[in-house]
């Protein structure tokens, strides 16, 4: 019975720890905040994994979280086609092109690069485990400077309903799954979860709110 109060204290401690952590991370965001981009260009994803579908999953799921974060996000399909017509059909060619040239072609304030380092599915008896490692980087459209960077590493298993042994990890998974479309097929929840974890932890390693999210917030504050 003595262990119970201690366990109840744990969330409070974690919250405190989280706050201190956030302050530290904030200083890392200064570059991003001073550049304060309004629009983000998403370029085709570089896939270093063995799963050929991974790049399409990442590319089709990244628009929603970025737009919901408050940024103008360029139409990824149209962007992809225009790049192809410019001789940049291969994503690694796009990634090695100067950021400022890509940005000026579309009039973008910043460019988001995604590299899939790992995407391995392990088929077990009752479930499938997918280990992913995804690198996100936002660069300034004028200078090409890295404004923000995050690497998301996780093990995902769609049938995970019970426990991974870590209550917080379980809850994050549950929350992320609740926030996605209900009838989404196979890897879309995984991609959504990776994106949510990479972008939304702010203050923290995520990205700050963009102009449209701020407008929405201001409106709410006025109406209250």
């Amino acid at each position: 019975m003595r262990r119970i109060p201690l366990l109840l204290l744990l969330p409070a401690l974690l919250t405190l720890f989280g706050c201190a952590h956030h302050k530290l991370e904030l200083s890392k965001q200064e570059k991003f905040l001073s550049a304060s981009p309004r629009s983000i260009l998403i370029v085709p994803v570089v896939n270093k994994s063995i799963d050929v579908t991974a790049a399409d999953y990442m590319l089709s799921t990244i628009t929603i979280p970025l737009a919901e974060r408050g940024y103008y996000v360029f139409p990824i399909n149209a962007v992809k086609r225009v790049l192809e017509d410019d001789g940049l059909a291969d994503s690694s060619l796009v990634h090695s092109a100067p950021t400022s040239k890509l940005a000026s072609l579309f009039g973008a304030d910043a460019v988001l690069y995604i590299i899939i380092e790992q995407w391995d599915a392990k088929y077990l008896l009752l479930t499938t485990q997918v280990t992913v490692a995804i690198n996100y980087q936002i660069r300034d459209g004028k200078t090409g400077d890295v404004l923000w960077e995050n690497e998301q590493k996780m093990v995902y298993s769609p049938q995970q309903q019970q426990s991974s042994g870590n209550a917080i990890a379980d809850l994050i998974i549950l929350l992320a799954q609740a926030a996605i479309t209900k009838a989404a097929p196979n890897y879309i929840p995984l991609a959504n979860q990776a994106n949510a974890q990479a972008l939304f932890k702010y203050p923290g390693p995520g990205i700050p709110f963009g102009p449209y999210a701020n407008e929405q917030k201001n409106k709410q504050e006025k109406s209250n």
Binding site: L8, P11, T61, T63, D85, A97, G107, A184
Partner: protein, 143 residues
Amino acid sequence: MTSAARYLCILFLLFSLIGCGAHSHTLYEWSGYDAKLYKHYKDPSNKEEFIQALKKVMDKAEPAGKVPPGVYAEYGFVMYEQGDNNQAILYFQKESDKWPESRDFMSKLIANVNKTTKNQKKNVRLPVGSKKGKTKPSSEVSK
């Protein structure tokens, strides 16, 4: 530890997490846009399905004024690929009016469609949006 206590702990954790940052409302009405895009990438030849999907997103989002960024442009681009230049310009213009950040790109696309319309009368098609293979660099961004 009793299971009730464990349950309480988890509940407490859940609430603290929700308090931290979960938003229940969204800025835009997406109608499963991600899944639709993925389907289109998996089977790019099925343009009609993609067109219908984009229409659905717009129809659902427009009454609430929650059309997501890029959707009008995406629709305009498919219209352009289908050869419907008037619709293409209409939707590029809609994107441009709604999102000032898109103006540069949209005006380039509109200029391109206008050129194509002129050239179509002479039976020539410009490379932007055309099929792979027929490509020819149309701007300074090439390797």
